[in-house]
Amino acid sequence: MTACDRIELSHRTTRLRYHRAGGVGRIGTDRVTRHVQRDDAPSGELKPTDEMLSAAVGRRDESAEAWGHALHAFEVLYRRHGSKLLGFLAGRVPRGEVDDVHQTVWQRVWQFLPERFDGNNFRAWLHQIARNHVIDESRRKRADLLPEDGEQRLPDEADLGPDSRLLESERRDVLARCLERLREEQSQVVRGRLGGDSYDDICERFGLTAARAHKLFHQAKEQLANCFRESFR
């Protein structure tokens, strides 16, 4: 019995349909109920590690049953790591491409796992696939924009770092212009609050009452939100 066979849970079930191996003319789908273990299952219940799950995915071609186990294990990996990966990608690719890039990354994980994953630290491997794909896409787009004289500058690893992938420069510039329209008092309170200062700290530093500080921040928020919204119409 494999590790995946021993997985049982009480909190959530997922019905998986999969096709049994066969050619055209096979009977059809067999509905098989498997239980996907949520990662918040009570302690004491077996929780497969990433490495156990990836081992099951790697054995997918051994039999039809192994294929079913592999899909099941892959879904656990996907749900376990997908949300954090989505957040990572959302900060590094255009908004409309995040889902497609996320999908492509997981397709590559499925494709390359049996041959290229060494069984250690699945998360680091997943992250590397995502980084490489984002870099490749960035290079491809830059190549499309080469000047006519053919001068090329390929991006290097540093282009994936925070300094180069800030895709929200327009948002930053608009907000900066809106901030310039605030009165000095409002601006001081905004910088304090968005710098992690408490109202007590702000009041003491600028000689304000608590009521005054709250009012200034509330007014500034409204003004900034309106200015920001108008700038993007």
């Binding site: 954090k84 957040g87 409309g96 999908q103 420069s169 948002r171």
Partner: protein
Amino acid sequence: MTVHALDVPETEAIPAWLDRHVVGPHLASLVAELTAVHGDAEPQTLEQSLGDRLDAVLANGLAAAGPEGCAALLRSPRGLLELQERVVVEGGSHWDEVASSTGVDILLDGGWKRLHRSIEDDRSPAPVVRVASWRTTVLASLLTAAATVLVMLGLRDLSSDPAPAKPSGWGWNRPGALAANETRSDYLAGLADSAEEWFKKRPESAEDVAARLLQFRHGCSTLILATHEPLTDEDRTWLRGKCRAWAVKLDAHLVALEADGDPLEVRAAADETIRSLIGALRTRATTV
């Protein structure tokens, strides 16, 4: 358009608020906004901001950074992007719990369906077209479209209010949009032109954006169910697969709107989706 930084809570709640942003989809926007507030003159690295508390933060979240650490990250916000990457690779179970509380699971549900289908499609031999299986596909698509309308609008009685998803006569639902007497490339280019009609109206309220999205989504069902006579079998398979993928994305935009998402932000996201599908259609039209 939401300014995420303006939602900053009271000081004691800042660590949990930042935790949600580190695993959420809006961190880049927050970093841009904080950079606008504080400038970028002397950025600190993540290690400089957190010092020897970094390991504790990776294990237990930003509560372990203390007020000084959180303030350092707010003032030098690019460290938050570094932290996001470190969390993907090294974050403890705390970050999994935070991620699951952001409601992104619903996007993963749709994403898993697409992924599962693509894995099975890559494995299966080319399907033999049979009338019985076509009917099953039609029925499944109709049920999916109907269920989407009901869930998104919370309809109880279809006779009581007009359904916004009725064909409105634009885009792919416009009479003549799927003309059978065109060449293959003109047909695909025509589909792209029809999709461009999305940009002719720019709704701003949540209700109007939802109605426009549902109308476009209905157009996807029209494409999935149509016979596409000018196209080859390979084109039809490609087009229907793409329509299903686009339909999942449009459903996700509707979900975001229903979850009190900013209508202009949702519309902007839908714009990107639709520009992407227009590009795919035009590219396909020019391939031999």
